[in-house]
Amino acid sequence: MIVLDALLQGILMGLLFALVALGLTIIFGMMDIVNFAHGEFLMIGMYTTYWTSLLLHMDPLITLPASAIVGMLLGLASYYCLVKYLLRGPMIAQLFGTFGLMLFLRYLAQFLFGTDYRIIQKGLLVGKTLTLGPFLVDWTKLSSAILSLIAFLFVYYLLHRTKLGKALRATALNREAANYMGIKTERMNALAWMIGGGTVGIAGGLIVNFWYVYPTVGLLFVMIAFASVAMGGFGSIKGAFFAGILIGMLEMLFPMFGQLVGSDFFGPHFKFTVVYFAYFIIVVFRPQGLFGWKK
């Protein structure tokens, strides 16, 4: 029973992880850049919903779009002010470039908001739980998971059924050919960053309902995102989805394993170590992940 409960919790969290991973995988699939600042985009999404709901006295679910917008703007700004130039340079520069962005945003947040831990206290669904048969589920987590799924499907629809989405995918597959077909690849780049920023902004806006936000919270989530993307395959959207859920479940099951073995060592504090470890193993032994294409 506890196992099923853990699995359910895992799936709910996993849907959120999937949304976080989505942005990362789109950007990577587009231009082979790993956005190290992805976790910080999430953090900013979290702060956005937190502050707007607090200062405007509105329910966090209503202020959610603010996170989306801020996320999109952040993505766009990052592209036009930094990433555009990084693309010209060697990989080491690209790596450090987004790394610098990560540090900048992190410490900017620290400067602006201090190091206090914050979480949404007031809201329609805060603190309420739903009883689904034998399971007890937080309304915030459930609604976040559902909204996450909706957002994911929306992006999927955007990418696969609209002309714009097709243009984006075409550029990701073959930049040169897309160029010859009249697709403005520069704009596609920016679009990828906009979508990436927007989705993870939404994810942040959802997560802050049940997870504390503080300036360095990004690191945790970005590593999970990396693991999801690696597992699912860099560039694969389906992969990000399934891998995110898988990791969500893994995280919940791991402390169970510790309890079963009776060892104190395997406690919940190792939850994230498992993720790092998983990334390593996956990337070494199956570099293309579950659905990705081999580079």
Binding site: F28, D32, I33, V34, L82, Y85, L86, G89, P90, M91, I92, A93, Q94, L95, F96, G97, F99, G100, L101, M102, L103, F104, R106, Y107, L108, Q110, F111, G114, T115, P215, L219, M223, F226, A230, F234, F265, G267, H269, F270, F272, T273, Y276, F277, Y279, F280, V283, V284, P287
Partner: protein, 330 residues
Amino acid sequence: MEKVRDAFDFRDFSTPEKVGFAILTLFLLIFPLLGAGSFVKAVAIQFLLFSLFGMGWNTIGGYGGQVELGKAQYVGIGAYTVALTMVWWKIPFWVSMPIGVLIAIGYSFIIGYPLFRLKGHYFAIATICTSLVLQDIFINWKLVGAAKGIELPIHEHPDFLYMQFKSDTYYFYFIMALFYVAIFYMNWFRKSKLGYQLRMIKEDEEAAESLGIDARWCKIKAYSIASAFVAVGGGFMAVYNLYIDPYSVMDLDLSIKIALMSMLGGAGSMWGPIIGSGFLVPLDRFLGSWLGAQKGLIGVDFMIYAALIMIVSAYQPRGIWGIIEQFRKR
């Protein structure tokens, strides 16, 4: 014997470089006698320490072109080996340090073998992972002090056996000696077969393989050398600070700083890490102490580095040394 000669042969450097280096050496030699305050001395020691770290990283990250962000785990291995053996068995520094280096090298081969199957971004992320995993283990491992860390026993009388001194001056000359050993080693390295092969791998790995170079094996070797370097630095940190914990010697921030200094100064060049360290360490310390005094400005120092990193990445990935070289060509 030629190997030894190679290490001391600086003939292929330009005159300004040689002069600059000579001036630096002279300055360092007389520095403790200049009557600087303890804060300045501490900064100078940090500068030399990070130059050492940077030169180590440069071996695989600069010359080899493999950006890795997990050096801190080896600093930790060096530091913990020295600290633990001293606390548990009273083993002197000169015995425990080589053991630490050997452990670091051994560990680097074990990790390196699968690690170097990866390239580029995947590789960089994986290096972060390995370092985080080790740090997590140490944070939770009661045997090695967990998050509380290890305190080294303070000896009444300074001695060379345990490398504990009352005055910073001794530490200064100690790290300076290590610094110069590193420089001579790097001088030899860049002229060695491995050095040439590594540079070729960085230029064009496919071509390198067509010339009989087993790229993966070369990278692993360079990675181990880098690990040995930083482990020595870690050992120094243990006897200098007399306290270590997983956050001070194994943190991701440390790995980033190390890579950053080399990159800023000029990865892949001999002087790059030293320039980078010389620039960033004082900046870090002085900025930190000035800003730390103004309460509202926590984190601004990091924001400045971060901005620096972004600017350098976007405009001159070859760092300060790259800028210097561009001027020379004019």
